[in-house]
């Protein structure tokens, strides 16, 4: 007998199904169940960075309730995996930088944020976080090293100044999230004032995204269609229809980062508000559409009929707006 997908994530066919089930559970406050679904998702789709990112988000939310530093370390491990799988992931880097800031690993936070800004030089969030990291780095040499914050020396620990950073290095070096060793986890000296913004979507966002995803069927019969992506405001794919085995890590990151850069480019040159981005690349044409609180990306063959696609996009926008 064919098994039907259950709320525990058994039997889901796509990574997005795991993501959406885990998000629903998280929004209901069922963090352990949500983490369980993420674990099943990572087991089934070990190369999908988005499930690791969601797991990290849920762990951070859980940390906010229980205030155990080990949970943040586990989140960091998930984010490192996500970044390894998808080096352009904006959300993974922003979350990792905030954990570093929370753990007072300011140099590590700065390194991650500079990496974000290398790709998105105008990103306001990264700039604000970088300023926070630099403020502490400038202040740090003047301060005395606090008692009890000594980490085990590692190959990279060379000075008193970097001792706290090395605690994070220990956590960051753990490669297997499931087998995370907490070790001397209690030595993490967290910045109590800093609140990590997990950029979670709310139940309202979820309902909206569901509408956006439901209406995607109107594109399914278009000739030359390679894939469709609905990407939420944090850059995470909500729905993916992948007909040509497109890279589900790289394409959503490309779309999200390009969307951000294009929005900044259009508005700061007085060209108004961004509506579409059309990228003609060697493997196909990517059409990026601003859909209110999300981004729709269509990947089509380079010889596809763009006028027919544009007409369909217009109809789609009318329907989701209505």
């Amino acid at each position: 007998m064919k098994k039907t997908p259950g709320s525990d994530g058994e039997g889901f066919g796509t990574a997005e199904e795991y993501l959406n089930a885990a998000k629903s559970m998280r929004n209901m406050g069922e963090y352990d169940l949500a983490l369980n679904v993420c674990d099943k998702g990572t087991a089934k789709f070990p190369n999908n960075s988005n499930v690791y990112i969601l797991k990290a988000q849920i762990l951070i939310t859980k940390f906010k309730k229980v205030q155990k530093a080990d949970i943040l370390k586990m989140a960091l491990v998930c984010l490192e995996k996500a970044i390894k799988l998808n080096p352009r992931s904006y959300l993974a880097k922003i979350l990792a930088s905030q954990i570093f800031l929370k753990g007072r690993a300011y140099k590590r936070a700065r390194a991650v944020l500079l990496d974000v800004l290398k790709n998105l030089p105008d990103d306001e969030k990264a700039k604000v976080l970088l300023a926070e990291a630099e403020k502490h780095i400038e202040k740090k040499p003047k301060e005395e090293k606090p008692k009890g914050a000594v980490a085990k020396p590692t190959a990279s620990s060379t000075s008193v100044e970097s001792s706290k950073d090395d605690v994070i290095v220990l956590a960051a070096d753990i490669s297997d999230a499931d087998g995370v060793k907490t070790g001397e986890g209690g030595q993490w000296e967290l910045d109590e004032k800093l609140v990590i913004d997990t950029a979670e979507d709310t139940a309202d966002d979820e309902a909206r995204m569901e509408v956006f995803a439901d209406k995607l069927t109107m594109f399914s019969r278009l000739e030359g269609m390679q894939g469709l992506f609905i990407i939420d405001a944090t850059g995470q794919p909500y729905k993916v229809i992948n007909k040509k085995k497109l890279d589900e890590n790289a394409i959503p990151s490309l779309v999200f980062n390009l969307f951000k850069a294009s929005v900044a480019g259009a508005s700061r040159t007085n060209f108004g508000s961004f509506q579409r981005g059309i990228l003609i690349a060697p493997f196909g044409t990517i059409i990026i559409v601003n859909v209110f609180y999300a981004t729709l990306a269509l990947v089509v063959d380079n010889d596809a009929n763009l006028q027919a696609i544009e007409a369909r996009i217009q109809r789609y926008l009318e329907e989701v707006a209505g």
């Binding site: 890279d247 790289a250 390009l258 508000s273 961004f274 981005g277 060697p282």
Partner: protein, 120 residues
């Protein structure tokens, strides 16, 4: 008048094209036509960010160059054409003859590439 300026002037002979600039990959302005400073510098800097995102992302997917990228806003369009070591940027209104603009961009890009000046 430099070859690049001539190519841009010819591009802007198309009535739908409002202006054009050529930038290096890192956003340095090489040449502009009908786009005054500081607008040309700002446009160059912002569009180099866009080109950088495209190039780095495409590298992850195993490709080195893109053909073209168009940003469409409620006021007009910004075209980016990959010239290898540089990027050609053209500004247009919203309601344009797409075919003619595409042809003009294609010809201008070829002219610029042939001139070899962007290798300097």
């Amino acid at each position: 008048m430099s070859n690049l300026k001539t190519s841009l002037r010819m591009l802007c002979n198309n009535q739908d094209i409002l202006g054009g600039i050529i930038i290096t990959k890192d956003g340095m302005l090489i040449e502009s036509y009908a786009v005054e400073n500081p607008m040309a510098e700002t446009l160059g800097a912002l569009m180099s960010n866009v080109a950088l995102v495209i190039k780095t992302s495409l590298q992850d997917l195993g490709h080195q160059e893109f053909n073209r990228y168009v940003i469409q806003s409620n006021k007009g369009r910004i075209y980016l054409v990959d010239l290898g070591k540089a990027v050609l940027i053209a500004l247009t209104d919203l309601n344009i003859e797409l075919g003619k603009v595409n042809m003009a961009l294609f010809q201008a890009a070829n002219e610029i590439k042939k001139s070899g000046r962007i290798d300097i």
